[in-house]
Amino acid sequence: MITPADRRAARTGYPRAPSRSRTVARRFLRSGQGRLGAALLCLVVLPALAGPLVCRWSPADLDFGAFLRPPSAAHWFGTTQTGGDVFALTMSGTRRSLAVGLLVAVLATAVAAVTGACAGYFLGWTDRVLMRVADLLLVLPAFLVLAVMSPLFGPGRWPLFVVMLTLFLWMVTGKVVRGMTRSLREREYIRAARYMGVPAGTIIFRHVLPNLASLLIVDATLNVSAAILTETSLSYFGFGVQPPEVSLGGLIADGARTALYAPWTFWFAAGTLVGTILSVNLAGDALRDAFDPGGRR
């Protein structure tokens, strides 16, 4: 593929800079941890996405000829007490949990990055207002508020759930980002940019945030796990994603009741949850190493 940069390189006879994202990707895939994390994540995500295509059961289907049956050719992960296909349910639940987790993590980290960096860079009033808001949200009992609001997260309303989870997940990162920005802003390359006449917004997005990238990425990963865990625990108690939509938390709650004599109803959902969180953490760790410019190539 020929990009404008390549064309310019050809014209000026001047080697093009190696793209940063490509360097990061190369380093990421070179580390064992990164490959393991990525592979594990694929193992969880691909079936979850492909689930509806390969499985003849949908999560809503009930097989009245098979109640609480162990895994077989017809039902790969077995069936539930009501004859639901555990494979179809688990895949659908994983899809929902992953969507919630990833969205919340990305949104929360983005909110934290922008508010933290703005507060730390501009200081003064901006700082005071943003940090008071963060303090206020920190003292609110998130679990309770979400539980009280659960009737609002009815069918098809899960994006609202995502927004609410995000609202309660960004503050700590935001404070850390603010602190780091305050020290970064006195660094000479930031001052150099300011004296060059680079506008404040550009400085924040080009110098401050990329230099916090490793923090933000690690944080985003931890947020993925935190968000998925919060979502599952809320759903476990019946406050999160509401039926008929399924999530891993709901499945685990249902499966726990029959886990002793029909372990397949519980272990497939629980295993998927553990695998997801493990793979996301592994990948996040490897990504942080890949981002570090001081790290070995």
């Binding site: 000026t12 001047y14 660094r187 000479e188 001052r191 940019a193 060059m196 680079v198 110098h207 001081g294």
Partner: protein, 675 residues
């Protein structure tokens, strides 16, 4: 005493297989001073630490270190501990980290005494006070009760010296003892070191990168490069007749106080090799101006070239090969710029004031740091003004005030004739374009995550210049970099290359005025010359004006047309460089200039120093009237009647000669009013 006190032979130090020191040998006799010079990474400090047995466990040490004929390499820790501090002592570069912060300095010295001598607590405490008196701590009884952080850097280094000589050692190893200090304090500390040596008769090993300090202080000198000694001999012999091209190159690349623009610096090309990737043959070969095929064949041994003089160079036998300052080809005649009065003023500063609240919890201290307190100067087109002074004198604050392009707390700043207080959001960017900055530490001023191309293109993007590629290439060529460097990150470049990138970025928008904040002080000696030459060349070629902030007066001598000397937030003296350096009028300028060592043993030893007493007073509570009077050698000898004006009236800068102003009430009297 007969024979050397300390003899090091074939010392080899490896860290994880990578050699840091590769076969170093030297010896010192009692009462002798051996200077070890070299650039960072040459293995100087590792040699010293190995001799003291202070290297970490994973370091592999071979060879022999004999102290009074006793082998120290491989000796057990207990044996070493008996020697360390008693027969052999060390003074480190950073006295703050070498002193325990939670104990009073008197107690620390007394403890050093009691470790090796069986004396009572009271005797040790008395000895500590004696030692503090020896190293010139005023009121040593009170000084002994101070904590390290309560003392200034110079005072702390004196305490370190007191501790080192506490047990009458036979050898004192000083590792860059004055590098972190200002020149006037450096002169004091070296004086103390000399005195302490006279008192104890110890041998001193002085490790430094400053050729001037060695010239004035050492009897013999050893030059190190890439982990080996490449030349050694008596100081005069080595300085006047260097045989190794590296030594000659170092001497040629150091800016000297006694030589100005007319004798340009000769940089050494390239940078020192990495210890794990040494070139074949002579490690200096790739950078050597007189390298021959024989040099790449084998590494030359350190061989005698004259009585007591050794050099490791295959061509050392050919006399006159290594020349410190080869005559430079005649400069193509540049048209003379119009006289100063007819050139436009690019920067005018009048009565600039910047105070900020003193550090510490607010309301408890309540003091105001008068960092800049009425500073004025101007810079005309194509001119370089050097702003010099010791740390804390307000030079960097002045520079930051100018760069903010905002209304100053007091006074006026005019950039290109525009008052910065009247600039608006619309008019400021245009001024910014023409006023750019280069910082001291290029590693800190370049975003580590961006490529060189992105860094140099950033100001272009900020001012909406399209298609930066060709411009970036031109800029890199202008500062002597390869276009291929564009794809690298700052971390992959050498210090000199990084500073070139920073200069290229500053030049991207074709500014008219460049502000340089200590642009060479973070660089190694041999690289410094290249940057100084580059700046001088660019200034002449592009018609730039520079505001060059530095603490190194020799560098300023080489690059500036005019110089302003600052002391405690005010200007002490300002004028043409030649005038000020030849005939300084302010007592402070005089002391400052006399404190800068010159890398020439003969000249250095016949100079008379004006030693200043004490430290710079705190800018929170500066002395009334003339701020320099508390340390002024002239004030001390003035009759009372004349002193009154110094105590009560702050002197303003007044012109005494054409284009030479001085802020001293008694500048015209003969120098110092000597006894």
């Amino acid at each position: 005493m007969t024979g050397p006190v300390l003899r090091v032979r074939d010392l080899v130090v490896r860290f994880g297989g990578v050699p840091a020191v590769r076969g170093v040998g030297f010896s010192v006799e009692a009462g002798e001073v051996l200077g070890i010079v070299g650039e960072s990474g040459a293995g100087k400090s590792v040699t010293a630490l190995a001799a003291m047995g202070l290297l970490p466990r994973h370091a592999e040490v071979r060879g022999s270190v004999l102290l009074h004929g006793r082998e120290l390499v491989g000796a057990r820790d207990r044996e070493l501990a008996a020697v360390r501090g008693r027969a052999m002592a060390m003074v480190f570069q950073d006295p703050l980290s070498a002193l325990t912060p939670v104990h009073r300095v008197g107690r620390q010295i007394a403890e050093a005494v009691r470790v090796h001598q069986k004396v009572s607590r009271e005797r040790a405490a008395r000895r500590a006070v004696e030692l503090l008196d020896l190293v010139g701590i005023p009121d040593p009884r009170r000084g002994a009760r101070a904590f390290p952080h309560e003392l200034s850097g110079g005072m702390r280094q004196r305490v370190m010296i007191a501790m080192a000589v506490a047990n009458d050692p036979d050898v004192v190893i000083c590792d860059e003892p004055t590098t972190a200090l200002d020149v006037t304090v450096q002169a004091q500390v070296l004086e103390v070191l000399k005195k302490a040596q006279g008192e104890t008769g110890a041998a001193i090993v002085l490790i430094t990168h400053d050729l001037g300090v060695v010239a004035g202080f050492a009897d013999r000198v050893m030059v190190m490069y890439a982990g080996r000694a490449v030349e050694s001999g008596p100081v005069r012999e080595v300085y006047h007749r260097p045989r190794m091209p590296y030594t000659a190159g170092l001497l040629g690349s150091v800016p000297r106080l006694d030589a100005g623009k007319e004798s340009p610096l000769v940089p050494i090309e390239g940078g020192p090799p990495a210890p794990d990737a040494l070139p074949a043959g002579c490690p200096f070969g790739p950078r050597c101006p007189v390298a021959a095929p024989v040099c790449a064949a084998a590494e030359p041994p350190l061989a005698p070239v004259a009585p007591g003089h050794h050099a490791a160079c295959a061509r050392a036998g050919e006399p006159g090969l290594a020349v410190a300052r080869p005559p430079r080809p005649a400069d193509p005649a540049r048209p003379l710029p119009p006289p100063r009065e007819r050139r436009a003023v690019v920067l005018a500063v009048r009565g600039l004031v910047r105070h900020h609240p003193a550090a510490g919890p607010p309301r408890r201290r309540g003091g105001v740091v008068r960092a800049v307190d009425g500073v004025g100067f101007d810079i005309r087109e194509g001119e370089t003004l050097g702003l010099v002074g010791e740390s804390g004198c307000g030079k960097t604050t002045t520079l930051m005030e100018i760069l903010e392009l905002a209304r100053p707390q007091g006074g006026r700043i005019e950039v290109f004739g525009q008052d910065t207080a009247l600039l608006t959001r619309k008019t400021r960017p245009a001024v910014r374009r023409s006023l750019q900055v280069v910082f001291q530490d290029p590693l800190a001023s370049l975003d580590p995550r961006m490529t060189v191309h992105d860094i140099v293109a950033e100001p272009l993007a900020a001012h909406r210049v399209r298609d930066a590629g060709p411009r970036v290439r031109d800029l890199l060529a202008l500062v002597g970099l390869d276009p291929a460097h564009a794809a690298r990150h700052p971390g992959e470049l050498s210090g000199g290359q990084r500073q070139r990138v920073a200069i290229a970025r500053a030049l991207a928008l074709s500014p008219r005025l460049l502000v340089l904040d200590e642009p060479v002080s973070a660089l190694d000696v041999s690289i410094r010359a290249g940057i100084v030459n580059l700046l001088a060349d660019l200034g002449a070629r592009l018609g730039l004006s520079y505001l060059f902030v530095a603490h190194d007066l020799a560098v300023v001598r080489h690059i500036a047309d005019r110089v302003a000397v600052m002391y405690l937030g005010r200007i002490a003296e300002i004028g043409r460089v030649e005038e000020v350096y030849r005939a300084p009028l302010h007592p402070y300028t005089r002391a400052l200039l006399s404190a800068v060592p010159i890398p020439d043993p003969d000249r250095e030893r016949e100079r008379r120093r004006v030693l200043l007493e004490g430290d710079v007073p705190s800018p929170v509570d500066p002395p009334s009237g003339c701020r320099f009077r508390t340390r002024c050698p002239k004030f001390r000898v003035l009759p009372d009647a004349l002193r009154q004006v110094c105590v009560h009236e702050p002197p303003e800068v007044r012109p005494v000669r054409p284009d030479h102003g001085v802020a001293c009430h008694h500048a015209e009297e003969p120098p110092g009013g000597h006894r």
